[in-house]
């Protein structure tokens, strides 16, 4: 019964989506405020309907209802409750429901924070989002219904993929989807502006916070996925240029470009046409990411679904959304005004150059990800495009982008003076260069990449310091504290996010340069030393978990004869799917991680063991979190709060409220 309620709620949601996607847009076109007024209640209604569906699926999982095909396929009676709930998005159908649910969450948020928008704009935005959600609901109801029954019911479920039975997997997909789907808001804003022909600075101001929030979620989501791969896959890597990782990284690159482009459109009215294109691009790449992961065209750790019908549906949907929006773009964009003039050497120019680099990088990732698919489809041979390719293509594109990142914020709008910039930045450059060249020698090893990485990281920080100092000289305020407080939050946000990149670069550089690993055969009682730490293997014990059995090793780790920690890596066997999982044990630290994973059992209780010493590896994810924090700071800026507080219409009954009453 409960699954049928969920199914029914989805059908109703589809009906609401059809209404929401058509009438308000039509109403906006003909100026009918009654039709426009449908948008808000429709969006809220859709949210509640999809929430009901989501709750029903969650209930089916919690109650172990194995007469629901999806529940039987992705969970098991032995699976603990929190993983049963996370199994909602453990495979194809459920992750689509999560996608749609999050889309309606964003819609609901738009209805809450859009009182300051003109009616036409709001109804167009919600209408466009309704169209997107219509596509997804239709997809679910036709070819991937999560509520499909299994009659007779299975005695027990086939269990969740053990790789996903991890706390990280409980939060990573919702975070990632919040980011992916969040770009739909920026997309809807852009399409609405194109439809209405009012692509102006106000449009940019409105989209900015939405885009930044989505970007923050995506950043955290990607970082969590990478962290999950690091500790769950058991071989210590943190980024594999796996097609699925690329699928989440491409919207991030486009979104990053979009944030910067929006800043210019907001402040200077320029780049409108380009900004709109980026908004379309970011969301299209999110859709493409969903398609890549969910259609099964990729064979990778994440692609669980394989069904050509679904692939075809998403492909058509993709073609309609991307093709449609690009057609609208081609039709409307040429009429958009140009905005203010600026010289090539100016903050605008540098932001544009950075945008070109980011988009070229995004294009390279796209090329590398899709190329093997195309070759295979055209029968031109099977090739693999992997980390060596991406590393050698991506780094040369990003290095200049990071270099520009240091200069851009210091350049004046409209026209910057190069000799003047050079003068203001010479100390930053000198300090960066000298430190980057000498620091590796102090640490005992020099490679060109090590120096380059450090140079870029220190460059970002020193230029941020220069920028902040100049800024402080120009704001009013009593004393240093007062002046620091007077610097707007959006500026702090920018500085913090940029410094997050620096932290990230330090992490990557140090791990690549200084990590050590050792594959050893360890008998009970034997020791192995890595990075100055001595690991003593004290044998394994058998452990029984809720739905697995494991051999758990004990490793005493000491530094200089003093015990640092005890690590318990596991080799788990999940009987339902008969899968062996390696659970690495990690001792995290600010300056280094110690990482142990069990290989294979050898004779006499000995094991093959992998040990890693990974300096600064946590800075990689720390950097991502700092970036996201920067985004949060920027969104909390005064101007946005003011804009949202303006929504109480009680003070002055504006034309809008009056009109609504009439309607």
């Amino acid at each position: 019964m409960i699954p049928e309620i969920g199914h029914f709620a989805l059908i109703l949601a589809l009906c609401v989506a059809v209404v929401q996607g058509s009438l308000p847009i039509y109403g906006a076109a003909v100026g009918n405020s009654a039709l426009m007024a449908i948008a808000r209640p429709a969006a809220r209604g859709q949210f509640f309907l999809v929430l009901i569906a989501f709750g029903c699926l969650g209930y089916a999982f919690a109650e172990k209802d194995f007469s629901v095909l999806y529940v039987a396929a992705t969970s098991n009676s032995q699976l603990p409750l929190h993983y049963r709930l996370a199994a909602i998005w453990g495979a194809h159908e459920g992750s689509l429901l999560l996608w749609t649910f999050i889309l309606t969450v964003w819609m609901f948020a738009v209805t809450l924070f859009s009182a300051h928008l003109p009616d036409t704009m709001r109804s167009r935005i919600l209408g466009v989002m309704g169209l997107v959600s219509m596509g997804f609901l239709l997809f679910m109801l036709t070819v991937s219904n999560p509520f499909e029954r299994l009659i007779p019911a299975a005695l027990d479920g086939r269990d969740l993929n053990p790789l996903l039975q991890d706390p990280g997997m409980v939060i990573h997909p919702p975070m990632l989807y919040m980011g992916y789907v969040g770009f739909s808001v920026a997309f809807a804003f852009a399409i609405a502006a194109l439809l209405g022909g009012n692509l102006d600075a106000a449009w940019a101001r409105w989209s900015r916070p939405w885009t930044t929030v989505a970007w923050c979620f995506l950043t955290v989501g990607i970082a969590m996925g990478s962290g999950w791969a690091y500790y769950e896959l058991g071989w210590g890597g943190w980024w594999f240029w796996d097609p699925v990782e690329n699928a989440s990284f491409m919207p991030w690159l486009a979104g990053t470009a979009l944030i910067h482009s929006l800043a210019v459109t907001d402040k200077r009215g320029g780049f409108k046409v380009w900004t709109v294109l980026l908004a379309i691009m970011a969301f299209s790449l999110s859709l493409l990411g969903t398609f890549l992961v969910r259609s099964g065209v990729l064979t990778s750790v994440h692609a669980f679904a394989t069904d050509p019908k679904r692939g075809l549906f998403i492909l058509v949907f993709l073609a309609v959304v991307i093709g449609g929006s690009l057609a609208l773009y081609a039709w409307r964009a040429p009429r958009v005004g140009l905005g203010g003039s600026f010289a090539m050497v100016s903050r605008e120019g540098m932001l544009l150059a950075n945008n070109v680099l980011l988009v070229a990088a995004m294009g390279s990732v796209l090329l590398g990800t899709l190329y093997p698919l195309f070759l295979d489809a055209l029968d031109l041979g099977k090739i693999s495009v992997g980390p060596p390719y991406f590393d050698s293509v991506f780094a040369p594109l990003m290095a200049p982008a990071v270099f520009l990142m240091g200069i851009g914020p210091l350049a004046q709008w409209k026209k910057a003076n190069l000799p003047d910039l050079a003068k203001r930045l010479r100390w930053a450059f000198g300090v960066s260069l000298v430190t980057a060249l000498t620091l590796p020698f102090v640490m005992g090893k020099w490679t060109p990449l090590l120096s380059l990485g450090l140079l870029l990281a220190i460059w970002i920080v020193t230029t941020a310091v220069v920028g902040l100092r100049e800024r402080l000289a120009h704001v009013d305020g009593h004393g240093l504290a007062g002046r620091l407080a007077a610097v707007p939050r959006s500026y702090w946000g920018m500085l913090v996010a940029h410094c997050g990149i620096a932290v990230f670069i330090v992490g990557v550089t140090m791990v690549k340069g200084f990590e050590t690993e050792s594959d050893v055969r360890m008998n009970v009682g034997e020791t192995a030393t890595i990075g100055g730490y001595t690991f003593r293997f004290d044998g394994t014990q058998d452990v029984v978990g809720p739905n697995y059995t494991a051999a758990r090793g004990t490793f005493h780790v000491s530094w200089d004869g003093r015990e640092t920690t005890i690590l318990y890596p596991e080799k788990r066997r999940y009987p339902v799917q008969n899968q062996i999982m390696t659970e690495a044990a990690i001792d995290p630290g600010l300056l280094r991680d110690l990482y142990v994973s069990l290989g294979e059992p050898l004779d006499d209780g000995a094991w093959s063991v992998r040990l890693y010493h990974k300096p600064f590896v946590d800075w990689i994810w720390g950097g991502c979190l700092i970036m996201a924090l920067g985004g949060v700071l920027a969104v909390s800026d005064r101007r946005y709060r003011l804009a949202w507080r303006k929504q109480e219409p009680a003070v002055v009954p504006s034309a809008r409220t009056v009109r609504r009453k009439v309607a």
């Binding site: 928008l117 203010g340 070229a360 090329l367 190329y371 090739i383 050792s518 594959d519």
Partner: protein
């Protein structure tokens, strides 16, 4: 503390067995194997390099590569051998040939095209734009719009 450590060492039995042996005999061979294996694909895995994989088949292939290194074959000879047996699929760095030209030059063409379009557009734009039409007037309008909400629609 020392006593405690000593006690743990004594209690845990054959703790005197000493230093663990590396899995491979010769560290120089292992270093070369690692160097090669990070560029090779584990053929049965979903998406892993040969260096990272724990699959039995990867284990076998690693042993084979190790044997070839011990036999003093050059990197090129080893890679040629593997490509002959498994095709280009085994290489994570696709070789530059007719079908992969676009893959290798693509990114830089993209950058070049992007940069050219950028410069041309800016030049043309500089001629078209009279002077800052989005100035204080527009800003005021924006502020007004943001302040007054839906009035302007």
């Amino acid at each position: 503390m020392i006593w405690l450590t000593l006690l743990i060492v004594l209690v845990s039995g054959p703790a005197w067995a000493g230093e663990a042996r590396p899995l491979g005999e010769d560290p120089a061979v292992e270093a070369r194997l690692k160097h090669l294996a990070i560029e090779l694909r584990c053929l049965v895995c979903q998406n892993q390099t040969l260096a990272d994989s724990n699959a039995p088949l990867a284990e076998d292939l690693r042993r084979e590569v190790r044997d070839m290194i011990v036999k003093n074959m050059s990197d090129k000879e080893i890679i040629d051998f593997l490509v002959e047996r498994y095709g280009d699929f085994v290489l994570y760095r696709p070789p530059l040939k007719a079908t992969t030209t676009l893959l290798w030059v693509g990114p830089f063409v993209l950058l070049l095209v992007g940069a050219t379009v950028l410069v041309i557009t800016l030049r043309r734009r500089a001629r078209k734009v009279v002077d800052a039409p989005v100035t204080d007037e527009e800003h005021r309008r924006v502020e007004q719009l943001l302040a007054q909400g839906g009035k302007h629609s």
